[in-house]
């Protein structure tokens, strides 16, 4: 149940960000992708995990 909750939370957040860019700001939907990746970010020892949607630019 916890995993399902975290997945849903992630999905809702990324979808809302995409919808805002596409539906409100008019960015072509073909330029905004959702990777679906969920990770508890701890890239650096001292970094605190955060709840966030991250952008990765691609060509």
């Amino acid at each position: 149940m916890d995993a399902s909750w975290l997945e849903q939370l992630s999905q809702v957040r990324t979808t809302r960000v995409k919808d805002y860019l596409v539906a409100i700001k008019g960015i072509d939907a073909g330029r905004v992708f959702i990777s679906g990746k969920v990770s508890n970010e701890e890239t650096e020892e001292k970094s605190k995990p955060v709840s966030a949607v991250k952008f990765e630019l691609t060509d």
Partner: protein
């Protein structure tokens, strides 16, 4: 054209060269230098305009692993050499650069050229590279001018690809210093508030100004507080189910919308009472066998010596009931009739049972341990 050419050491000569290319474009090269030892002293400026890059396509395939369909190069550069030390700066603008297919090349430098182009190329098809600084000691045998240029280009392309927002930040209309790559959400937050919308507006502006860019969205989660919130939502939901007797939605996102942090403690106590079989005083229930005996529940301000177990607490209440009804406790005729966690207050009309609840953190821990939701 050159003037004042002398073979004397230390003498400088003026240089001015201009020309054009077959495929279009022009250049000029001007300044002064020591003609017999340009490494000792040179100060030159180069202007190159509309140089057709398609002639360089073989080099793109070899070193960058990409074909080149078209592009026009414009350069404004200055070079100063004093006693073998090179110090130069370039302004480079490439117009209508169009990359071709990816190609395999053993000599490829592996640079993310496609991403760099997408980041730099604006809506008019112009790419202005960040200032390219050239410096080095030409006396050092391991250093060559071409090596310095390649290293500087490598640094620029890698920086563009690895820290794109440091290049693009200013396009969004902000200071350029803020981190646009991460949209932070508070625990349980799913709506885009004004702050998040403002950040996304800047991202949209960048995408508008850079039509070759795409964006991949991924999510990260700070699991501990998000899971804690989820458990509280479920506990609150359970309380509402107990109250209404009707099963509610199990969709976590729907439950999130109706969750009230302000009511959580009250709801958790309600679920605890249900779990432990402690009657709700607001229901004005009477305990079987104890006519007109109201039961008041009172959260404790201090932790009891031991947390009451379900059996223990219910047993205590049961013992009290039996005493009032004139029966003996189950376990022993000598067993105390007043449990640790129960106070008995009597009045002339009816006895009142005051059950002390444990501190709230213990109540919450118990609910989580029992998964009472």
């Amino acid at each position: 054209m050159s003037k004042n050419v002398s073979s004397e050491k230390g003498e400088k000569a003026a240089l001015a060269i201009a020309g054009s290319f077959d495929g279009g474009g022009a250049f000029s090269f001007a300044g002064d230098l020591e003609p017999l030892d340009f490494r000792n002293y040179s100060s030159l400026k180069l202007d190159l305009s509309s140089f057709d890059l398609s002639a360089t396509a073989p080099y793109w395939r070899k070193y960058l692993g990409r074909g080149l369909d078209k592009g026009m190069l414009n350069v404004e550069a200055s070079f100063d050499i004093n006693e073998n030390i090179l110090d130069g700066a370039n302004g480079i603008m490439i117009d209508q650069l169009t990359l071709g297919e990816k190609v395999e090349s053993e000599d490829s430098l592996g640079l993310p050229i496609g991403l760099a182009v997408a980041i730099l190329k604006d809506r008019q098809g112009k790419m202005e590279l960040p200032p390219l600084k050239l410096s080095g000691d030409l006396e050092d045998p391991s250093i060559s001018i071409s090596g310095i240029v390649m290293k500087a280009l490598d640094n620029i392309i890698v920086k563009i690809a690895t820290s794109p927002f440091s290049i693009l930040g200013g396009l969004g209309g902000g200071s350029g210093d803020e981190d646009l790559s991460t949209v932070l959400f508070a625990v349980g937050q799913t709506d885009l508030n004004a702050n998040l919308q403002s950040q996304l507006d800047k991202m949209a502006k960048i995408l508008e100004e850079r039509p070759g860019l795409k964006v991949d969205l991924s999510s990260t989660i700070d699991e501990a507080p998000e899971i804690q919130l989820f458990q509280r939502i479920l506990i609150s939901n359970k309380a509402l189910e107990i109250q209404s007797g009707i099963a509610r939605s199990s969709d976590p996102i729907a439950l999130l919308k109706s969750y009230s942090a302000a009511s959580y403690e009250e709801n958790a106590i309600a679920v605890y009472r249900d779990l432990m079989g402690i009657p709700d005083p607001t229901m004005e229930e009477t305990i079987a066998g104890v006519p007109e005996a109201p039961v008041a529940i009172q959260p404790s301000k201090e932790a009891p010596a031991e947390e009451p177990t379900k059996k223990g607490l219910l047993g205590s209440v049961g013992s009290f009931i039996k005493k009032v009804a004139g029966a003996k406790p189950e376990d022993s005729a000598d067993a105390p009739v007043t449990p640790d966690t129960t106070e008995v207050v009597t009045s002339e009309d009816a006895p009142e049972v005051v059950v002390e609840l444990p501190p709230f953190d213990e109540i919450e821990a118990r609910l989580l341990a029992e998964e009472a939701f």
